[in-house]
């Protein structure tokens, strides 16, 4: 039966991605003390997870198309096209992370929220986390793409779910790390 087949093919992957999200969620649970001591930190969480997912899946799908167009392959991976893609992703991450930090601060101090975060602390946490997770996820994307090319799979089927699962977890680890770092240093 048609519907049965669809359930059989997508259910395991969606449940698996959900298990990855539980790891991400548990990390948030561990961060509870940080949320209490750094006002505004919890505000950036949905945004930074979402943009990481969007930027890295877009990179993955562009590289997938580039593969289908014959621009890159396993033997000719590290070329100018790939470098432009990498620089584009990193610049986007940096710009959007800055916007998240500023918006989180501005919306917090306005009524009806009236919470007063430390702007320097908040924006530096978002920038450090955004940039480090961007570098890690870009490298991961290229690694996945390379393996997929080597094995002759279609990158379009693999990169999306793989990046969605690892992306959330890696991004939250990065926010956790940079929050601890900034809290210790500032």
């Amino acid at each position: 039966m048609y519907a049965k087949e669809m359930v059989k093919q997508s259910l395991p992957l969606i449940v698996f991605c959900g298990l990855g999200a539980i790891v991400a969620g548990s990390t948030l649970g561990v961060m509870i003390d940080l949320f209490e001591s750094i006002p505004g930190l919890i505000v950036v969480i949905p945004g930074i997870i979402a943009i990481r997912g969007n930027i890295s899946t877009a990179l993955g799908s562009r590289l997938g198309s580039a593969y289908h167009l014959g621009i890159i392959d396993a033997d000719n991976l590290w070329n100018e096209e790939l470098k432009q893609n990498i620089v584009g992703s990193l610049v986007l991450s940096f710009l959007v992370a800055t916007i998240i930090g500023i918006l989180a601060y501005v919306t917090s101090i306005l009524p009806p929220i009236n919470v007063y975060p430390d702007p320097v602390k908040l924006i530096s946490i978002v920038l450090i986390a955004g940039f480090i997770s961007a570098v890690i996820l870009t490298l991961l994307t290229i690694g996945i793409i390379y393996l997929v090319f080597k094995r002759g799979y279609d990158p379009d089927n693999i990169t999306g779910p793989a990046l969605a699962t690892f992306g959330d977890v890696i991004t939250i680890f990065c926010i956790f790390g940079s929050a601890v770092l900034v809290e210790v240093m500032v």
């Binding site: 048609y2 519907a3 669809m6 359930v7 259910l11 992957l13 969606i14 449940v15 991605c17 959900g18 298990l19 990855g20 999200a21 539980i22 991400a24 969620g25 548990s26 948030l28 649970g29 509870i32 949320f35 209490e36 006002p39 505004g40 919890i42 505000v43 950036v44 969480i45 949905p46 945004g47 997870i49 979402a50 943009i51 969007n54 930027i55 899946t57 877009a58 562009r62 580039a66 167009l69 621009i71 100018e80 096209e81 432009q84 893609n85 620089v87 584009g88 610049v91 986007l92 710009l95 959007v96 998240i100 918006l103 989180a104 929220i113 919470v115 999306g160 969605a164 959330d168 939250i172």
Partner: protein, 187 residues
């Protein structure tokens, strides 16, 4: 050369900024509920799970609709039977996934020594009801985005995933707290 980093940034920025504005709204709801989340951390753990499932289901549905529209076995008609089958299956997958993962989260939190303050049945009920409502909204968004973008000559493959994951994140947090409120937990 096909790709240039400036073009990638220029094309990416508008949709990302829109997404960020919506996600900050979601983040402010979390901040408003922060005290409740500290008392009942199990719901903080659930936030990424609720969002991940709905985003994935919406994206899979969108990709299937996009392929159907491109190949022609799904027609641009809100009464299309193939589309209805896809929609119902997405709902079914959603309810099963939220049910299974709710049980996993509950026992993980219990054995992890977390402060609980809620019993299994109540927690599973809250997550499954949230999930059902959320998958309904996300699936309808997915169908509308796929159909509208296809009608305008845009590729639904590019449009559905960002729209569905962003709307899903914000609505997921709103609906989760609404359902928690209806159950009267943590008040």
């Amino acid at each position: 050369m096909i790709y240039s980093w400036k073009k990638i940034v220029k094309h990416g920025i508008p949709l990302l900024v829109l997404a960020v504005v919506i996600e900050i709204f979601a983040g402010q709801i979390l901040q408003g509920k922060q005290e409740m989340l500290i008392l009942l951390p199990i719901f903080l753990i659930s936030v990424p799970v609720v969002n991940s499932i709905s985003g994935n289901i919406g994206s899979v549905l969108g990709a299937r609709l996009a392929s159907g529209l491109h190949v022609g076995y799904i027609s641009l008609n809100l009464k299309d039977k193939e589309m209805h089958d896809n929609l119902l299956t997405a709902l079914l997958i959603g309810v099963i996934t939220y049910f299974v993962l709710a049980i996993v989260i509950y026992y993980m939190a219990l054995f992890g020594g977390l402060r609980m303050g809620i019993d299994l049945i109540e927690f599973v009920a809250i997550l499954v009801i949230t999930g059902f409502l959320l998958v309904c909204i996300v699936s309808i968004m997915s169908v509308l985005t796929a159909f509208l973008s296809f009608k305008r000559g845009l590729d639904p493959d590019d449009m559905v995933a960002p729209v569905v994951t962003t709307v899903g994140d914000a609505m997921g947090i709103v609906i989760l707290f609404l359902v928690i409120g209806i159950f009267g937990v943590g008040i």
